[in-house]
Symmetry: D2
Subunit: 133 residues, 4 copies
């Protein structure tokens, strides 16, 4: 990912990058991929019937992570209130999905990795909140 290079060369940024927001953008794209993968891995399990809530939360989390990563990548003009609200929802979606994945972490390694990815993204979102204002 080239998030830092791209944001630091944006004409409205001029070298002053908000590190916590950069980390948040990276985590959002990464978590979108992890959740998309985890939904599909759960779908491939013999016990898929018991993983349907996990798949649903994975897909919701992937959608909001992708939207938040894109919104956070934009610097032209300003949309602070909406961006803050999106990051907040993203943190909640990550917390919810991470909690569900954690329940299956001992049985399914993909759920363990996804729970970690969700928690890392949740933390990055919470850290970014202080820099977006």
């Amino acid at each position: 990912m080239h998030v830092r290079e791209m944001i630091s060369t944006h004409p409205h940024v001029q070298g002053s990058t908000a590190d916590a927001l950069l980390k948040c953008i990276e985590e959002c794209y990464s978590c979108a991929q992890t959740c998309t993968s985890c939904a599909d891995a759960c779908l491939g399990e013999e016990m898929v019937k018991e993983l349907t809530q996990c798949i649903r939360l994975n897909l919701d989390c992937a959608d909001i992570c992708a939207a938040t990563g894109a919104m956070g990548s934009r610097r032209t003009g300003s949309n602070v209130e909406v961006l803050r609200a999106a990051i907040q929802v993203c943190a909640e979606a990550c917390r919810t999905c991470g909690d569900e994945c954690a329940k299956h972490a001992e049985m399914h390694e993909h759920c363990r990795i996804c729970a970690d990815s969700c928690r890392s993204c949740e933390q990055a979102c919470r850290d970014a909140m202080s820099q977006v204002h």
Copy 2:
């Protein structure tokens, strides 16, 4: 759009459809398209330099509308708190984008249509909030 038919045949819904949520899903997909179009139409205008904030808000609005439309379409399991929060952000994004588009509505017909679409989606989001709990 086949939102009503699809939701009403979902095994967890069994015919009881929340009309305001159906309307909200339709408006989210429609507004995602309208905002994507408006961003591109603004980009094609001679005075694009004065429309960059409008384009930025269009793109943010399209992203959150698409994510919210997809999340609202899911009925398996439950993700009420996250869905409510997403619908709330979507309403805010629509309000912000609609206000900006309204400023250029007299000069650019695509901004006038987009302002209407944003307001319609904002209202549908607010109406859906009472049904998602």
Copy 3:
């Protein structure tokens, strides 16, 4: 959906709209919603284990429909070869998903509706190919 109004007011279009492309854009957004819904409805079925391939194809189809609908909505500049290729992939994804959904159409009404939506979108994509050059 306001596809026609938006495209017809685009500064690079000036009233001359390609009807088949407009229809294709509408069908892409509609099919993205239908496939997202169908994946989730399949996930809620008792026999989900037998519907995992259907869910996978639904999710793939939703992704490419959403991307193609957005790309088709853009008129500024030109990206004909890429747009044509995307419409072609979208038609193939719709054909594949529609064929799979048709297998479960008698048992699951959501699959019947989704099969119809996929075929309608596939046809709209094929019709649009002659206008995008």
Copy 4:
């Protein structure tokens, strides 16, 4: 990104990962972010009027990269022909966008980085084609 960990723990993969496809998925998510950033950075430039084609190609490339990255992440069931076609379109979108960005690479550092990212993603897509069958 946790692409390798996620794919290698998928129940249908069982440790045998196609390295070129893993690289392709990573590059698709990365290029989606880079192109989203570059579109916005171009939008912030004084000379935005001369960058509208670049912005349009950036947005198209971001859309198809995001869809292809998600489709490539799925292993349940199979959708080989559609996935191959999507990877092929993605390579073309990256080539087209990379060529345009390269024209502004000397003047805009974000376009130089984006051109590199597009070329890297294009190559990863072409390399993955031999493994997806």
